[in-house]
């Protein structure tokens, strides 16, 4: 690990001010992704700003009947929150399908959204990887690509976003609230939060340097049956190969987002409209134009079958 200086701040404003003062700084929250990557020198910040004690650890109602989840709310606490379990069960379900009890006790809402890909070549510093080292190439294209993207990828990168929680948030139309180094706040729909890889896969979100996530908001509850179905290589403590997060109403209408297929949780409004017609129609709309390799072509039928199972389960 490269050495770094460390400071702890106690307010969001102090966090962004510290960033403005210190070039090359990074925020650290739970540390479960950043520290892992620092050990491998994939991330090499010269200064860490500890934001784990800046408050932002509350879950509270918003004025429009929705809910605001503080950026520092731990994944365990979010999954266990009574209102989240009652009104946004999909979020609880997605969270407890991810990582382990120990990791969820540390991982935060903001950190979870910003966790980086699990592409094995991104982790192996001996391999070319445009995301880790811009311009070096992509070892996954033409390499082992079983876990890689089938939609939204580019010739520079075919990595997927690994978060389970983000899939639930996307199905529920979440938005991200931030504050920047000038003290300006803004609200970004999660649908617009992640950047397509294009020629710059190292740029993963629309956040500006030093822009701090303060909260994630969800609109008012939509009711329905909430189902998160994660398919993975073992029954627990493994990342998704693909996952389906869905809210399905009695009349068959609903919202669906897919994990493990692209650089962000995959949600297509036109596919939601197809849900009453069944999994085949909805999957066709969701994964239109999919580009597969011989190793990840299995994801196409897997998404359709998993969605079919989710829709059958929702019917009860």
């Amino acid at each position: 690990m490269k050495s770094f200086t460390y400071e702890r701040v106690d307010t969001p404003a102090a966090a962004t001010a510290a960033f403005a003062r210190t070039p090359g700084a990074r925020f650290i929250a739970g540390g479960t992704n950043l520290l892992d990557l620092m050990k491998l020198e994939i991330e090499t910040p010269g200064h860490l700003i500890d934001v784990s004690r800046i408050g932002l650890d509350r879950i509270e109602p918003t004025s429009d009947g929705g809910i605001r989840i503080g950026a520092m709310v731990r994944n365990t606490d979010l999954a266990a929150d009574a209102q989240i379990r009652r009104d946004y069960g999909l979020v609880s379900r997605a969270l407890v399908a991810g990582a382990s009890g120990q990791l969820r006790n540390k991982a935060t809402t903001a950190g979870n959204l910003l966790q980086r890909t699990r592409c094995p070549y991104f982790y192996d510093t001996n391999q070319p990887c445009n995301k880790r080292k811009p311009g070096s190439g992509c070892a996954a294209i033409g390499g082992f690509s079983r876990i890689h993207a089938i939609v939204g990828a580019s010739d520079a990168c075919i990595a997927t976003h690994p978060s389970d929680m983000a899939v639930a948030m996307q199905a529920l139309d979440a938005a991200v609230e931030t504050i920047d180094t000038a003290g300006k706040t803004r609200r970004i729909a999660l649908a617009d939060f992640y950047r397509a890889p294009a020629n710059t896969p190292h740029l993963e979100t629309v956040l500006a340097p030093g822009e701090l996530i303060t909260a994630v908001t969800l609109p008012k509850p939509v009711g329905g049956t909430h189902i998160y179905h994660k398919v993975r290589d073992r029954a627990s403590y493994a990342f998704a190969l693909i996952s389906v997060g869905a809210v399905v109403q009695r009349d068959g209408r609903g919202h669906v987002a897919i994990g493990g297929v692209g650089y962000k949780p995959w949600r297509i409004k036109a596919a939601d409209a197809e849900l009453p017609r069944g999994a085949k129609a909805a999957t066709a709309a969701l994964l239109a134009g999919a580009k597969t390799t011989h190793e990840n072509a299995y994801k196409l039928p897997l998404v359709e079958r998993t969605l079919a199972s989710v829709l059958a389960q929702a019917k009860g």
Partner: protein
């Protein structure tokens, strides 16, 4: 002359360095000498941290890179907590911080200022075992024992998590409080890998401590 162990210096480098330091001493006070001192390799940044481990207060000055795991093992010599993968993938390093189990390998020690940390040594020692330690012995919940401290810390916290109503992946209904069942325990213990495969005896030990028919 003491050589700081983190800077491996070859014999040739050491001789050259010695010659430079002799020159520097003879020219002490000249601007050149001051420049030489400033160019000397700086030590890695450190930070102070104070926390309680097993009810004992400690204050340490640590290289900021030190994980909680390394602080416990290398600085406080509490070697009960084990390093398996050092990447959050095995659970051998599980300790309980302010009542919650975490992977001490994926947490910086300096981020734990003011925290109360419990390691396997703090749960119980020979002659005065924690009920969970006793149950692991009685049920043969291990073979080589390497994963055991992490398993036991995790197991103690798992029973508290179920009591606190925290749901798991196998909890059937999010509106009902979870209960101690074998599927619940297996799911909740999945962050602790046992290469010896003592899993079924580990679950027996936890069921025994929970005092339920599961």
């Amino acid at each position: 002359m003491a050589i700081p162990e983190e800077f491996p210096i070859s014999r040739r480098g050491l001789l050259a360095g010695g010659a430079v330091s002799v020159a520097a001493v003879s020219a002490a006070g000249s601007p050149d000498a001051r420049a030489a001192v400033e160019k000397a390799p700086s030590r890695p940044p450190t930070a102070r941290v104070a926390f309680h481990v097993n009810n004992t207060a400690h204050e340490l000055e640590l290289d900021t890179r030190t994980t909680l795991l390394d602080a416990l093992r290398e600085h406080l010599r509490l070697t009960g907590t084990k390093k398996g993968c050092d990447h959050g993938q095995c659970g051998a390093c599980t300790v309980i911080v302010d009542g919650r189990r975490i992977n001490s390998c994926l947490s910086l020690a300096v981020m734990h200022d003011g925290d109360k940390i419990t390691t396997i040594e703090g749960l119980g020692l020979p002659g005065n075992l924690h009920p969970m330690q006793q149950a692991f012995v009685e049920h043969d919940g291990y073979q080589c024992g390497y994963c055991t401290p992490g398993q036991i810390c995790s197991a103690v916290a798992v029973l508290e998590e179920i009591k606190a109503g925290i749901p798991s992946h196998v909890t059937a209904d999010l509106s009902d409080p979870p209960s101690v069942t074998r599927p619940e325990l297996r799911e909740r213990m999945s962050g602790n890998i046992c290469r010896c495969g003592a899993y079924s005896n580990i679950v027996d030990a936890i069921v025994d401590v929970a005092g339920v028919k599961a």
